[in-house]
Amino acid sequence: MNEFEDIKKIIIKKPLKLDCGVTIVDYPLAYETYGELNQDKDNAIMVFHALTGDQFASGKNPVTNKDGWWSYVIGPNKALDTNKYFIICANVIGGCMGSYGPSSIDKKTGKKIGINFPVITINDMVNAQFNLLDHFNIDKLFCVTGGSMGGMQVLQFIANYPNKSKIAIPIACSASHSAQNIAFNELGRQAIMADENWKNGNYELENKSPAKGLSVARMAAHITYLSKKGLQEKFGRKLQERDKIKFGFDADFQIESYLRYQGSIFVDRFDANSYLYITRAMDYFDLSKNSKSDLSEVFKNTRTKFFIISFTSDWLYPTAENREIVIALNAINADVGFLEVKSDKGHDSFLLDVPDFLNALKNFVDNSYKK
């Protein structure tokens, strides 16, 4: 990890009381923007990133040198058109791309915070990012959007600030993290913590890295982002640079090699403790609490217009869970639209070139801005 000297950052002076009880203050929040804020300041869109995303939603990520995670969505004439809109995306607290997280330096000790970082929630992430409205002197956003954990932040944003965005587009998410999703996150965390180099979270102090554990966590998670059909079509039983199986535990199959590669590149850009903290925040996310009526209650003060999007082959955040949000909003007569996009690309569909998704998003955003 480098020290991210060149990336944009604000230091938030306003104390933030976290759900766990700890108050943080004077903490950094790293962000990136695309497009220009207009004079009326009515064209700002806040984009929230998913578990392993960061503020570099579009263009080249200067740290990884790869395309931003939402390059298909954000750019000139794209669904979120940078010729029209001013797009803000921040690295969540708990993250590892310059915002306050486990890999930040503790001013008192001069060392990385590591496992002494407080446990955070989606609510905390959203409250931290809300400070960016003040920073840009924006009274009300035009739109909040994001997929997966980004979608959860959209829901939390509207719950906390019912009339601070004209429209809200939660994509491929849930109002309440399911047992299955908690289970997958726990699998990832256990893989990290089982790595002897994790050192009870203090690996940085010993100059170690639980790369194997983090890599396995990523491999397991990666499977959940794809669909069975997508995997079968892309890999099937194809062999990796060989004609025959080798009767060993090398990567005989292309799918094995692919997952190993995904795991190996992930550890270069992501901090293992961040992975623990952020997955935990997702697990704690539950706007429904005990019942559907609770979820409706959360949104009862909002006049925001919602558009919820799910994907047919997403089994991690399936349509039924997205529909729960629609039902809760309908129950309070909120202004809500919903589309389930047909796609074989699984949960990852929201990050990929899926024309039906990109068109629907663009049409909804552009039409909502006109009015």
Binding site: F307, I332, N333, V336, N367
Partner: protein, 198 residues
Amino acid sequence: MKEEFKIIANSIQREKSILDVGCGDGELMKFIYENISKKIRGLEISKDNVQKCIRKGLTVIEGNAEMDLQQFPSNSFDYVILSQTLQAFLNPEKVISDLLRIGKTSIVTIPNFGFWKVRFNLLFKGTMPVTKTLPNEWYNTPNLHMCSIKDFVNFCNDRKINLFKSLALTNNKVSSINKFNLNFKNLTSELGIFLIEK
């Protein structure tokens, strides 16, 4: 725009809230949105149609009326529209009761199976009817529960549903249906348009 849509739109007061059930590509919704009330939402089963509605700037929920109407709260809309869709439901009775619950007024239109051309088809040709308002063959029709204007009127009467306005449409000409001309209108009308309340 279809004459049927004009009649429906004319039945709606300004700035009232409307739910269009089975809104199709949003043609009627768009007209109402631009001319009568911005407070309009749609429910539509086809993904392609939902996309078309979004392109028109309309708020639409992809869903199936038979399953998804139950999520709407009681009396949440001033009007609920159901245009030529009733006959395609597995359980039209349940759908009507949901419409009456959700909307203060429901506007229901049906292709009339009592229309003389329909009767003529079956009576003289001996084949299932194919007409302008019933364009499909028996093997590919989405229609499960066809009814005539008279059937619908009887249905409302039996259930004490307040049927406070009944219109008939033939060749773009609209006329009123009452208990004296019911048999005649049932024979001569292509489409029935009904305003009902609980």
